[in-house]
């Protein structure tokens, strides 16, 4: 019914291999973009932006980054929180060192710095594999958090050990600090999210992405057919860390404003982003969005149902949330290892034929 292809004739290879080959799908995508860029900024207030849109957009970037590493290249990483911290602290140092430079440049540079650090910690992946590597990335997590906690240079010798985002702008519009407008922060993050998604999508379907997937599916075979594991793995670590670093920079500067490293970028953050891509769908850009949306909305929904309707104390709801997330991980791994993205794909297949059976 909706996704019918009748009457769509593609005459070039370019048309045939586009991301949204079905016309309805394409228009729906344009519609979502239109709503996100032209409608939502005029409607949002502080509450909506801070409790839903900003965390969703920022986690989506982190999830895309981790998905490139885990979903596309098969290198499991538990160091996401540490790399987000690198992005945040790099952004902070840049913001305080160069106050007049646009925030855009700061955030991108923070991503570049994180990419470098990510490659450094990605080096062991050439020797060790699977969960040996997963455990090894924990080294990055703990070491980086310790570093930002203990070396005063990183937090500019502030007495509390926290970092606070000073007021910075881009094109004269305030992006960070306490006096920002909701629409400005929203649009700023949205631009980064969209850019990350488009870059990631195009990287993963190009030759780089094919190399990553070859390494993921069977690294020795990939090496035999001419994929260089050194460049493939390190580029995956670099690109992944770049996105994760950007999300960390945004998380600190735009969303939270003040950060204490152990609290904001602890091991739980690593697991949260990993859960996003497991539930959303490994090896899928849409899955990163779906997983981020799901795990951002779940606590909000649970709070509304548990605390506001049923009148439970907040600690029960917090524990229940752990139980539900844990159970969901297991259920998804058993029933649908490709996550929400696969459910969506199946639904689309069904809708192509509906209401006819064949």
């Amino acid at each position: 019914m909706f996704y019918r292809e009748a009457g769509e004739f593609r005459t070039t290879y370019k048309e045939d291999s586009q991301t949204f080959p079905i016309r309805f799908d394409r228009w729906r995508y344009y519609f979502v973009l239109f709503v996100a860029i032209c409608v939502i900024p005029f409607m949002v207030n502080d509450y909506w932006v801070n409790s839903i849109f900003l965390p969703f957009l920022i986690y989506a970037i982190a999830a895309i980054g981790l998905n490139i590493l885990v979903g596309y290249c098969g290198q499991v990483s538990l160091g996401t929180g540490g790399f987000m911290a690198v992005g945040a602290y790099a952004c902070y140092k840049l913001m305080t060192a160069f106050p007049d430079v646009s925030m855009f440049i700061h955030v991108i540079l923070a991503g570049v710095i994180t990419a470098g650090v990510g490659m450094l910690f990605g080096l062991p992946s050439l020797r060790i594999k699977g969960f040996y590597l997963a455990v090894a990335t924990l080294a990055a997590q703990f070491f980086l958090v310790w570093l930002f906690n203990r070396v005063p240079w990183f937090y500019n010798y502030s007495a509390s050990g926290q970092i606070n985002a000073p007021e910075r702008d881009t094109f004269g519009i305030l992006i960070t600090g306490p006096n920002t407008e909701a629409w400005a922060t929203y649009l700023f993050c949205l631009i980064f999210t969209l850019a990350s998604a488009i870059i990631a999508r195009n990287l993963t379907r190009g030759s780089v992405g094919r190399k990553w997937m070859a390494i993921r599916d069977m690294d020795i075979a990939a090496e035999i057919i001419g994929v260089n594991p050194l460049t493939a793995k390190l580029s995956a670590f670099a690109v992944s860390s770049f996105f994760v670093g950007i999300s960390g920079a945004l998380f600190f500067s735009v969303y939270l404003g003040a950060v204490e490293v152990g609290e904001a970028f602890g091991i739980n953050k690593s697991f949260l982003v990993l859960f996003m891509i497991i539930i959303g769908g490994l090896g899928s850009i849409f899955g990163s969005f779906a997983g981020a949306a799901f795990l951002v909305l779940l606590p909000v929904a649970l709070k509304v149902v548990g605390v506001d309707w049923l009148g439970w104390p907040t600690d029960i709801v917090a524990h229940l949330q752990l139980v539900i997330v844990g159970a969901l991980i297991i259920v998804f791994l058993i029933a649908e290892p490709h996550g929400i993205a696969q459910l969506w794909r199946v639904a689309k297949e069904k809708l192509r034929l509906w209401p006819f059976p064949h």
Binding site: V151, G326, I329
Partner: protein, 338 residues
């Protein structure tokens, strides 16, 4: 003998004791990994769950009291009795066996044949589930764990005075003797007994032989009539028992609270160092990590790096080590074929 040297010896001894405790947790990992190829990230949470259940039984807490009160508007908290420690330990072992059965029945039976990394992620999910479940069941406040098997015979607390008195004055007037936690000594003895018992079980009993057969080759074991399901439940039960022992030791040391589940994170570098498949590896790795991180903190971390290096030193050590020997000290050589 100079004082610095004696302090270094003291740090070394304490590191050995801490290493034994790490090894105790690592042991649970090795058991499950050997028999089913599952890298059980939930081992630390299992220790927390076991310790909480033990305290809950001892104090006669009503399970899910908080939830029941919130839902039905009643005020139940305890049954009003205090169970004897031995009975409580016995009941906790039963609970851990039930947990092993449930995990096998509802999770891993459905994941047979999946990639190891998928199984690993499933155990992370299990860890989250179990953590929330334990908090819902027994409440999340910090509890003290006192284990007394007879009147006056409890797990010891505090430093050991005998050792302190014996070694006082070794380094002249200023040296007050070695401070070594009595609980750590008990833990070391218990760990040694546990390892001996596990090795004996694996070597000399029918079930133990079946366990080793499964570890060697699932399919071959299945074809000579070994029940995989039973062996896996057995192995998870054993891991649950090891978790209980680790939970008791750590719980008596620092209270039963959330941070107990983080000891799993301490055990991971131990495993990487020792190799995932080797029980001696877990012990030796635990000792190396325990001594290494205490000495590093004492000699380099605290004076030069601002302290608290214990969080990452073990990982860095393991990481460096892995680059040169990817399978760990005692691990089996990894051979890959296309």
């Amino acid at each position: 003998m100079s004082e610095t040297f004696l302090y270094t010896v003291e740090v070394f001894l304490n590191g050995l004791m801490a290493g034994v405790l790490y090894a105790l947790v690592a042991l649970g990992f090795v058991l499950i990994y050997k028999a089913s190829g599952i890298f059980n990230f939930a081992q630390g949470v299992m220790a927390l769950f076991a310790a909480m259940t033990l305290v809950g039984f001892q104090n006669g807490q009503v399970p899910f009291a908080h939830l029941i009160n919130a839902t039905f508007g009643v005020h139940v908290s305890t049954f009003g009795w205090n169970l004897h420690s031995v009975v409580a330990v016995f009941l906790t072992v039963l609970v851990m066996i039930a947990l092993a059965w449930a995990v096998q029945r509802f999770v891993f039976r459905h994941l047979v044949g999946q990639e190891p990394i998928i199984l690993f992620m499933a155990t992370i999910g299990l860890a989250y589930f179990l953590e929330g479940f334990a908090d819902l069941m027994w409440g999340s406040e910090i509890k003290t764990l006192d284990l007394c098997w007879a009147v006056g015979a409890c797990l010891p607390q505090g430093g050991n005075f005998w050792i302190e008195d014996m070694t006082a004055g070794l380094g002249g007037e200023g040296f007050y003797g070695f401070f070594i936690d009595s609980l750590d000594i008990v833990a070391a003895v218990v760990a040694m007994v546990l390892v001996a018992a596990l090795v004996a079980f694996a070597q000399y009993t029918k079930q133990g032989r079946a366990m080793r057969a499964v570890a060697d080759d699932h399919q071959a074991a299945l074809s000579v009539g070994v029940s995989l399901n039973f062996i896996w439940i057995l192995v998870w039960s054993l891991a649950g028992f090891v978790a209980l022992v680790a939970g008791i030791m750590w719980g008596a040391k620092s209270g039963v609270q959330f941070s107990l589940s983080l000891i799993a994170l301490k055990a991971l570098p131990v495993l990487m160092l020792g190799g995932f498949t080797s029980i001696p590896g877990a012990i030796v790795g635990g000792l190396i990590i325990g001594v290494g991180e205490k000495l590093f903190e004492f000699l380099i971390g605290a004076p030069f790096l601002g302290g608290a290096t214990e969080n990452w030193f073990a990982y860095m050590l393991a990481l460096l080590f892995l680059v040169f020997r990817p399978q760990g000290l005692f691990g089996e050589k990894i051979i890959e074929r296309v």
